[in-house]
Subunit: 350 residues, 2 copies
DNA sequence: TATTTTTACGCAAACGTTCCCGATAACGAT
DNA sequence: ATCGTTATCGGGAACGTTTGCGTAAAAATA
């Protein structure tokens, strides 16, 4: 099956005009008489002419399209961020192409390659949890392809970056648990080399420090697949529960990790917050429906997407090479619910 | 900023060959000597040559890309379906472009127009809840653009369609409530003209009929925005609770509708299943975490995406016009949890 | 009236690729 | 020596569009 759209040439033939005249008439060029313009415009309207964007891309060497790379769209943070991206992109005349790395480095490389050759005008990326080597981005970036990182950023690449204030978010979450009387707070996070993991871990540590609680690395576990693999999460939890000095709190550092932890805790038959109090870095809007309702650190995902897109488009449309780059950190929001509630028992003990 | 990739012409110039020879060498044509081939291949590898897909699209009048239109990706059913679509598309050498209608008819029209002019080779669509007029699809389809509908289909357009067995899924869900002793079962669903709404309503009615329960249209409410607007859902619930003959069960007919209902029920301070038992058509994998855990009808979303994509690609690659179309209905899965549990009180009353 | 300016349009190149059609050379056959 | 084959390669058109340049006629100026 094929699909034959009408071209500028068809219009020219039908009206006895050259393609250049038609093109200029359509663009409203001053060197076309108003009668001819009217003629062309009306005919184009009548036969429902649409300029072929592929031909335009070839000619102008740009696409008016942005590539998005995230680990997965079935993730509240990313789907909200994508909505933010779209909201700006469409208003500025850009189309978006969404790709999922599924947390695979290899797949990320393939996608980057594909998007670049497909001539997207720029890239919005949050790297996969497996990514430690950024040369696939670097190569393109140095060749002049604009890239803006959001959420999980590549610190070694000098460009715009937009993130949540992960340090503060983690600090707040941890401190909240501490204020509610929990003292042995475990932390389950994503791959350690991820920027977000480091930032959140640092916030967690700082909160412990400020509250005179010793940092114990046995309480910290990394899930190298970002919570995509259930067993990895369950293993981490089992180790935590095997500790002689029992953990009484848990701070989970990602959307997927948080929900997977909740599932694992249920399977392991742990009561929240009695056995362990939980607060998670997640953008799910279903937290209040959980049993118990889930305390969360919420990221301004939509706004992060918006800001990143504005920066990217400004880079794309800049006449001269961009030399000043911004790193924006947007504030998170702490939403307290029952999963981190202070328990009477714990309180009386202290 | 601009991005200058290497072309076939650059290779030709560097090697003292014509573009045609280079092109043929790259394609492995028989009329190029093996030495020349080796030379070209090695040089191309060295400078990391990538064919420009835009030029190819222009020439071959196809893109190797598929357009996807769904209401929103922040929806478990659709994100899973998209994963299914991708799994097939990438293996067959197609790229996907995802667009969200956000349940808006107007936006859907814009998207269709954009994707078509963008020369996607075919469309995979689940229509928006506002869509009653299908001419925007029909026009393109009649011009030869292959379209496959999934989930929410346009019955008046004769093409491949892939859905879950909505009738049976709804029947099973309703009957499950009945078997558990509930007799006044409300049904909250999406816009009435949506194919899925009709199919699910019919399954619901049939289950009532088979179990000698009278159908009461006061128990059925339509949410014209598919659960995207909270108030619409809360209103429906309030009306249900105001009925003189109280409802004791609720069957919700969509992913978003189900979760929004759960939120509204919580806000209205209704106990599940004591005040009302709930079962919902949803693909969330978080149902077991809810309070109470949520009984669901699960659709084989991933498989629906896969099957739809296979059908679409077969249409695209078919030499002759396709005249035989399939309508596939895949089986749903009933997952029983606590939200629909028979309650002692209800049982003793009967 | 002769010259310049303006108006309004066409020609052709370019974007990167493929592919039809020739073209050239070597080579064996006649 | 001439011709048909075969193997290898280049020229150029085409895909749909924009745009610099050229140019005819019309209008304005001298």
């Amino acid at each position: 099956m094929k699909f034959e759209p009408v071209t500028i040439k068809d219009i020219g033939k039908a009206l006895g005009l050259s393609t250049s005249t038609v093109s200029r008439a359509l663009r409203g060029s001053y060197e076309i008489s108003s009668e001819t313009k009217k003629l062309v415009l009306e005919y184009a309207e009548k036969i429902n002419y649409r300029p072929n964007p592929i031909a335009l891309s070839l000619k102008e060497r740009r696409n008016h399209s942005l590539g998005i790379i995230v680990c997965e769209i079935a993730n509240n943070f990313f789907s909200q961020a994508i909505n933010g991206i779209e909201s700006i992109a469409y208003n500025r005349g850009y189309h978006v192409i969404i790709s999922q790395s599924h947390e695979s480095f290899e797949r990320e490389c393939v996608i980057v390659d594909h998007l670049a050759s497909r001539s997207v005008d720029g890239l919005l990326v949050s790297v996969s949890s497996e990514t430690q080597d950024y040369t696939h981005f670097k190569q393109l970036y140095e060749k002049g392809l604009p890239i803006v990182f959001f959420d999980r950023v590549a610190n070694e690449i000098i460009t715009h970056k937009v993130i949540a204030d992960n340090f503060k978010g983690a600090y707040d979450a941890t401190e909240h648990l501490i204020k509610n009387g929990f003292k042995r707070i475990a932390h389950i996070t994503s791959a350690p080399y991820l920027s977000i993991s480091e930032e959140r871990l640092n916030g967690y540590k700082e909160a412990l420090l400020k509250n005179n609680i010793e940092y114990d690395e046995k309480l910290v576990h990394y899930c190298y697949h970002g919570g995509m693999i259930y067993d990895e999460v369950e293993e981490a939890l089992k180790k935590i529960f095997k500790l002689k000095q029992k953990a009484d709190g848990l701070f989970t550092a990602g959307d997927r990790i948080t929900t997977t932890c909740m599932q694992a805790l249920q399977k392991l038959d742990k009561k929240i917050p009695d056995d362990i109090a939980v607060i998670g870095f997640t953008n799910t809007n279903l937290g209040e429906l959980f049993n118990p309702s889930l305390s969360v650190v919420r990221q301004p995902a939509f706004e992060i997407g918006q800001v990143a897109t504005e920066l990217l488009i400004s880079m794309i449309e800049s006449k001269r090479p961009v030399t000043e780059f911004e790193s924006k950190a947007l504030q998170t929001e702490l939403i307290i619910r029952d999963s981190s509630a202070a328990i009477a028992k714990a309180k009386s003990n202290s």
